[in-house]
């Protein structure tokens, strides 16, 4: 199996026919002597949301940092759409941003720095700037938080302000590193649908990494599944399948669908679980969820079935 699966060619045009915001071609990258990415290829269309799925250590953060240009790549190519200023325009929300409660920084200050954080000199007030910041905060449902200290906000609220900060440079591509980690179930769902809405309404290509695929199912256009530095990409139903993931992991992988959630179970050894012939042969999917390494603990069926409204 190639790194870009047959049913999931990286160069397949996006359903919307939008130009790509990001194209990654045969990307190799190493980190302190270890080959972290081994020929990763995929693309993200403008106005679409792509989930970058993989366990801890699969190379998600390395891939995002390589796209940002913060990490030298060994070979391959990363093409990012040029923004209105002709500069590579990428918005980025890093993993686990810790904002101290004592920081004398309001939500609106942080969003403003997203637009002009590179500029020299002391910022001047202007009504145009204020309106721009207000409009971004409104886009992430955070208008009421504008004058609150960022450090005093909840995890979900901080995440939304950070998304507005990342959007302030008016990027063509928005990268988010585990934005759903350590959020409560309700904020997880809200953030996921907010990102889907931002992708469509602002015509931004959104690529976010997560170890749990489920919150993204209702909003995700495509998926990039990463394991040990290799990736398959395509539409969710093309990639999240037992045969495709088994080839990626070089292990037998079971994929179960239950109550609108996906459970991906990577066995230690092939055939260990006794339902190696596929999900249809496994009598009780719930019992298999104990083995589930990727999809997280089962929650109440808050996730509607796959497919966007």
């Amino acid at each position: 199996m190639t790194t870009s699966g047959e049913p999931a060619s990286a160069q397949a045009p996006a359903p919307s026919g939008e130009p790509p915001a990001l194209e990654v071609e045969d990307l190799w990258a190493r980190l302190s002597g270890h080959e972290i990415l081994r020929g990763v290829s995929f693309s993200v269309a403008a106005g679409s949301l792509t989930g970058l799925i993989g366990e801890n250590g699969a190379g998600k953060t390395t891939l995002l940092r390589a796209i940002l240009g913060l990490l030298p790549i060994s070979s391959g190519e990363v093409r990012v759409a040029r923004g209105h200023l002709g500069r590579r325009s990428i918005g980025y929300v890093p993993q686990k941003v810790v904002l101290d409660p004592d920081l004398p920084v309001r939500a609106r200050d942080l969003v403003e720095l997203g637009a002009d954080g590179r500029r020299l000199g002391i910022p001047m007030r202007s009504s145009a700037k204020r309106a721009f910041v207000d409009q971004l905060l409104q886009a992430v449902d955070a208008s009421h938080l504008a004058d609150a200290r960022v450090g005093a906000l909840s995890g979900g609220e901080q995440q939304r302000v950070l998304i507005a900060h990342a959007l302030a440079s008016q990027p063509e591509l928005l990268l988010l590193d585990e934005p759903l980690a350590s959020l409560d179930p309700r904020s997880t769902q809200e953030t996921a649908s907010l990102l889907g809405r931002i992708a469509r309404e602002r015509k931004v290509g959104v690529l976010l990494s997560t170890h749990d695929i489920n919150p993204l199912l209702p909003v995700m256009d495509r998926v990039v599944y990463l394991a040990a530095g290799r990736a398959v990409s395509g539409r969710t139903e093309e990639v999240v399948r037992s045969d495709v993931l088994s080839a990626l992991y070089h292990h037998h992988v079971d994929v179960f669908h239950a109550h609108g959630r996906v459970l991906v179970s990577v066995g230690e050894e092939e055939g260990e679980q006794g339902c190696e012939r596929g999900p249809d042969d496994c009598a009780d999917p719930q019992s298999a969820s104990v083995e589930n390494a990727v999809a997280g603990p089962p929650r109440a069926a808050t996730v509607a079935g796959p497919g966007r409204p």
Binding site: I90, D100, V105, L113, G114, G117, R118, P123, R149, S169
Partner: protein, 291 residues
């Protein structure tokens, strides 16, 4: 009226060393406000204190050579800043250890220089002036230097204000915008060194972080935005130094020796009082919100 007379004693406003002190105090407080706010936000108070200790070495050397202590303060603070940047490990712990070792060596050297000064020259009080400072001892000829260094520090902080603020909030957010930490960090270090040196001149080398950190830490309790925090720190700093000058002038009639109490004591006490007050009102406000 008599209370006002008791506080603002006759001759206060016409005394030329009081006038000089008031100008120096205002300049130093205004420079320390933005630099102090960034220092507190970046969590580099220890680096600030280390520079302060190292400036003592420069001050002692200046006494021995017979040049203005401010020059000694500035030269050593800048040397300390470049040493820290050169050692500059990425890890917080490694940086703290390196800073600790360097500042220990600096104070040791300072002990030798002060010993040499007091034994070879008949100056008494060099140690007290270097370590605990006296804003009244600043000569009028030093004023242009004070203002020059102050304006340079303010210019540097103003120049990199936004990149510095972003990297102080979160270095990852800054590098996502393609900002290198190195250049911005170096410019910040230079302005930190300049403000520590100026502060050392005002309240002494080992107390100088009090004027840098105290008003800024107080401002962080009171103000919500970076601009307001800096304005607030400037206000507290100027108020504390000016009130300290007035109190020190009053203290000339105080026991035991009727020679006046050290002005640094008053400034540092007032800064501490402001901090405690802000802490109390902040807690009360938070409790009020909870109810």
């Amino acid at each position: 009226m008599s209370i006002l007379h008791a506080i603002f004693q006759p001759g206060l406003f016409s005394n030329s060393s009081v006038q000089d002190a008031a100008i120096v105090g205002a300049v130093v407080a205004l420079v320390c406000a933005p630099v102090g706010v960034f220092t507190v936000v970046r969590g580099q108070s220890f680096a600030g204190h280390a520079f302060a200790d190292i400036t003592a070495t420069g001050g002692s050397a200046a006494f021995l050579l017979g040049v203005s202590p401010l020059l000694g303060f500035v030269v050593m603070a800048l040397a300390g800043a470049s040493a820290t940047e050169l050692l500059g490990t990425e890890r917080q712990r490694g940086r703290d250890l390196a800073t600790g070792v360097v500042l220990g060596a600096g104070l040791g050297l300072s002990a030798l220089l002060l010993y040499l000064t007091t034994t070879t020259q008949s100056t008494t009080g060099a140690a007290v002036t270097v370590l605990f400072g006296s804003i009244f001892a600043v000569s009028t000829s030093t004023l242009p230097l004070v203002i020059g260094f102050g304006v340079s520090a303010l210019f540097l902080v103003g120049l990199v204000y936004r990149p510095l603020l972003l990297s102080s909030i979160n270095p990852d957010l800054a590098s996502a915008q393609g900002l290198g930490h190195r250049a911005v960090g170096l410019i910040y270090m230079v302005s930190l060194a300049l403000s520590v040196a100026l502060s050392a001149l005002t309240i002494g080398a080992i107390l100088s972080t009090a004027l840098l950190i105290g008003p800024a830490a107080t401002a962080l309790r009171l103000a919500k935005s970076p601009g307001r925090a800096i304005a607030c720190a400037a206000l507290i700093g100027v108020a504390a130094t000016w009130a300290g000058i007035v109190l020190a002038y009053d203290s000339y009639n105080w026991p035991p020796a009727q020679q006046g109490w050290p002005v640094s004591f008053f400034v540092v006490s007032l800064v501490l009082a402001a901090y405690l007050l802000a802490q109390l009102t902040g807690r009360r406000a938070r409790q009020g919100q909870a109810q």
